[in-house]
Every structure is written in structure tokens, then in C-alpha cells.
Amino acid sequence: MSGVLVVAESRRGELREVSLELVGAALQLKDQAGGPVAVAVIGADTFGAAGIDEIITVATPTEHFEAHVHAAALEALIERQQPSVVLLGHTIDSLGFGPAVAAKLGLGFASDVTALAWDGGPIATRGGYGGKVEVELEFPGKDTVLLMLRAGAFDPAEATGAPEAQAVEVDAAPRTEHVGFREVEAGDVDITKAEFLLSVGRGIEDKDALPQFEELAEKMGATLSVSRPLVDAGWATNARQVGQSGKTVKPKVYLALGISGAVQHLAGMQNADTIIAVNTDPEAPIFRVAHYGAVADLFDVADELAEQF
């Protein structure tokens, strides 16, 4: 067992950003894991990045990602490459096949990994208790360890021209049938264009409280956005949702009121220039990505903020 096998990710013909981050992470492990760094491109166009030793392309019977095809392809590639580490993104697509491959082959496994180290084998850091503690995992007795890395947590490798790829054929059949894609309605607002987002979450507790924050946003010159629970509850539309399944935003200022900061939310806003968070829970994960934080009741602060603008 030697080397790192990276599974690149594409959607509708386009390479996803996380693929370069996976290569970046693989390069970080390369010295200890030994060579080579091989990148598998399953059912998509090949690409290049600095430091890649091998590109392996796998043709698939389906045009789009299909979880069972990906699983079968990855199982065949692991058999072929005998890698000590397999890297996937902690993404919706990978959630559909990564854990299945790890379970079936009895691999070492961790998902939503935010940092990597090496001590005789890979060491993976991830959150525990909803992100309130950091957990280091080890994988004793596992020759191959499959790790799903959080998008945005690792520095991307530099994209280069595509090296010559090796085509590998695998026997992989789909078990679901693709019907189509659908974009969620755009709505009346584009929160990705806003310079200043006032974002509210579960902490507002009641739908009836929402108009107060719409008014406050208007007064402050901000655009109102929300975290997922408000959309799930039907209080706000998906168009205003920040996070993995909503929009990724990068405003100059992101003011979060009553948002604890679930991983999927942080994924959508952690690159904002300035993040200010108000939450009653001093251990809320949002304080770890925020530049300024206040442990306070959001309604008290909101009332006072209205006086300031």
C-alpha cells in the first residue's frame, strides 16, 4: 500500500473547485504516504494540477454522476492502485458513495475532515458534538484509509495543463435513473451580490419576529439572508438561504444574528471579508470563523442596532 488516490469531482461537465483542494491535501501527505499521487476522473473531462503523478480516467455508462457507478469505479481503482490514502470531497455527491465503499471494503474512514497529519499513518481532524470539540482520529490496522475532506479547508493545488491520462475500464452499472436537474427558483433577491448581509437563524425562534429583521436590514442598508432552519420551516425562501445547499456568499460584511454555525452554514459564508456574530451560546461554532463576536441576546442587540442607523 502506497500513495494517495484522489477522486476528482465534476458536475454537469465542469470540474468542481474541491478537486484542486484534494490534490493540495494529497501533496501534503505525499512524502509520508509515499508515491504516487494519482487522480481519478470518473465520467468527466480530465484536468491537470501541479504535483499530480498519474491521471486515471474512467468512462461511465451514465452522463451524470451516479452513486453506484462511482462506487464500483472507486472499488476497482482501489484494487488497482492499492493506495494508503483515498481522498474525496465531503460533498453531496461523495456522501452518496464514499461511506459505501469504505463499509464494503472495510477501509479506515472519516468524513468532514478539516486537517490532516501523519503519525505512522494518516491522522484526521474533524469536529465532534456539533463542532464544539475537535477530534483527532487514527486508523489502526487499516491499510487503506478513505477520507472525505471539507470543501474550503485545504489550499488548492495550482491548476496546470492536463497530463496524459491512462484510461481504465471498469464494470459499473447504475442503480438509479437520472430524470433531470432543476434550479431552485431564483426569487426576488440575489444575496450573492450584496455587500452587506444581515443574516438571521434559528435564534429568532418565531416567524412573527422576521418582519422586525426585514425592517432592521432596510434601516442598516443590508440585505436580509437566513440560515437553513428558517427555509425548512417555510419562513423564508431558498433564494435567501446561505450555506451549502443555499448560496455561497462573500459580502464585505456578514452580520449573523442567532446563527450557531452548522458546518453547512459556515461553508457558505466563511470567506466573507468581515464576519460579526451575535449568539447566546459562547461555544457556538460561528465564533470560530467570526472576526468579531458578542455573547448576547440577539433581540436586545437588534433593538440597539436600530438606534445606530
Binding site: R11, A71, H90, G128, E136, K247, V253, H291, Q308, F309
Partner: protein
């Protein structure tokens, strides 16, 4: 239609907690039913109701804390429950839990297995899909809409992708789906149902009854905890202290400064 729904009691930490011998002090933990499982249970109940007959079985791998969550599911309308526990399961990782669940689900031969996408404490997002692999079932992860067609014994589902994109796909039963929050409106149980739930069957199982032992569990496990620690307090955030008025003033100053820059 027979549907098995694996559920989990999740740990909610107090605002202040201590570490004891490298683990979170158990006294600082409260337990509640995983939020995602409210939605998977509701989806199962709706399917059973639409079918007009069938059974919803909830299964949990957990110590006695898990009984409360199972009773809550029974009160909402699940027909029976199974709780699997042995001390060797303490701290089991998602792959070990999936192995145990597989042994329990196999005994039921359900038409459908519905899991939550993830648990709010572990946030692995792995157990359901690993379970599907053990059962040899087709699976769809992160389902936010579900339409079952009895005639073709297939489900058309929406898979929630990143950035507001949705994929529609069709899967034949038996299958396993992991259910995303927001797919439905979970019901609340009334007091009468909560009382009646105490009379519903709740089977308690150990590993040996499922043909498993701690060696099988160890082999299935994907990882071992090496260390656990609270992250640095507040991370990089500069904390704004004082009255709400003082906090609001500081926030206003920062906002105005950053927007003008």
C-alpha cells in the same frame, strides 16, 4: 409497505463543559432525538398512511438514553421499536454502527429504509449510505422530496445538491434513502399517543442476538478516537463585551467602517 427507520439520540452539550480524561464530561450532555430523524420518521409515516397498510419499525443503536427517542417515534405513530446495545458499542464510529444496523435491518427485509442524512452531534453523514452497502440496496443520499409510485414500486426523489441545484432521479424499491430536513413537516404526538406509546413493543437486542460479536464490530469500525479537545476559545473572533447598547455601537462602527472602505 414495511419501512425501517434507524434513529439516534444525539448529544447536546451544555454551554459550559469540562473535559474529563480526554472526553467530554458526561454530566454536561443532554440527549434528544436527532433533528434529521424527525423528518425520516415523518416520511415513513406518510408513506405508510398513503399505502393504507404496512409497518414502520424504528431502530436505534444506543444505551438506555435511546429509549426516550424510540418512544417519541412510537408516539408519533411508528408501530414498533428495537434498541440494540452492549457496552462494547460505546463510542462506535458510523461504520461500526452501520454494521450493527445491517444485521438488525436484514431480519426485517423492509421495502424501504429511511435514515436521516446525518446526526447533529457526529455530523458524519455516513451511517445510512454505509448501511445500504451492507444490505446491498440501491441508495440515494440527501433526499429533499419523495414521491412513491406503488404501481412501479419505484420512488422519484429529489437529491439536494450544492448551491440550490436539485437532481431528480428514480430508484426502484427496495432501497435506502437518506432524508434531508425540510422534506416534510414532522408531526407532534399528542398526550394520548405518548401514553399509548408506552404499550407499543420495544425489543432490546444485544450483539449476539444479531449474530455479531465485538471482534466483528472492531473489524467494521473505520476509526478510533486519538484525542478530543475544545478548540481554542472563540478562535479568531475578537469578543465585544458590555451592554447590548455598547455591543450595538461597536457593531455599527465596524459595519460603517468596513462598508466605506
Amino acid at each position: 409497505m414495511k419501512i425501517v427507520v434507524p434513529v439516534k439520540q444525539v448529544a447536546v452539550l451544555d454551554e459550559e463543559f469540562e473535559m474529563l480524561e480526554g472526553r467530554v464530561d458526561p454530566d454536561a450532555i443532554e440527549w434528544e432525538l436527532n433533528e434529521w430523524d424527525d423528518f425520516s420518521v415523518e416520511a415513513a409515516l406518510q408513506l405508510r398512511e398513503a399505502a393504507g397498510d404496512g409497518e414502520v419499525v424504528v431502530v436505534s443503536v444506543g444505551d438506555e438514553e435511546a429509549e426516550e427517542g424510540l418512544r417519541a417515534c412510537l408516539a408519533k405513530g411508528a408501530d414498533r421499536a428495537q434498541r440494540i446495545w452492549e457496552d462494547s458499542l460505546e463510542g462506535a464510529d458510523p461504520l461500526a454502527v452501520a454494521r450493527v444496523l445491517a444485521a438488525a435491518v436484514e431480519r426485517e427485509s423492509p421495502d424501504l429504509v429511511l435514515c436521516g442524512v446525518q446526526s447533529s452531534d457526529g455530523v458524519h453523514g455516513a451511517t445510512g449510505v454505509a448501511l445500504a452497502a451492507h444490505l446491498g440496496l440501491p441508495r440515494v443520499a440527501v433526499v429533499k422530496a419523495l414521491d412513491y409510485d406503488a404501481g412501479s414500486r419505484s420512488a422519484t426523489v429529489e437529491r439536494e445538491l450544492e448551491g440550490g441545484l436539485v437532481e431528480l432521479l428514480k430508484v426502484e424499491l427496495p432501497a435506502l434513502l437518506t432524508i434531508q430536513t425540510g422534506i416534510n413537516e414532522p408531526r407532534y404526538a399528542n398526550l394520548r399517543a405518548i401514553k399509548q406509546a408506552k404499550e407499543k413493543p420495544l425489543e432490546e437486542l444485544g450483539l449476539s442476538e444479531l449474530g455479531l460479536d465485538s471482534d466483528a464490530l472492531g473489524a467494521a469500525a473505520g476509526s478510533r478516537v486519538r484525542s478530543m479537545a475544545p478548540p481554542e476559545a472563540g478562535g479568531g473572533a475578537e469578543m465585544l463585551n458590555g451592554s447590548p447598547e455598547a455591543v450595538a455601537e461597536r457593531i455599527a462602527t465596524i459595519v460603517k467602517e468596513r462598508l466605506s472602505g
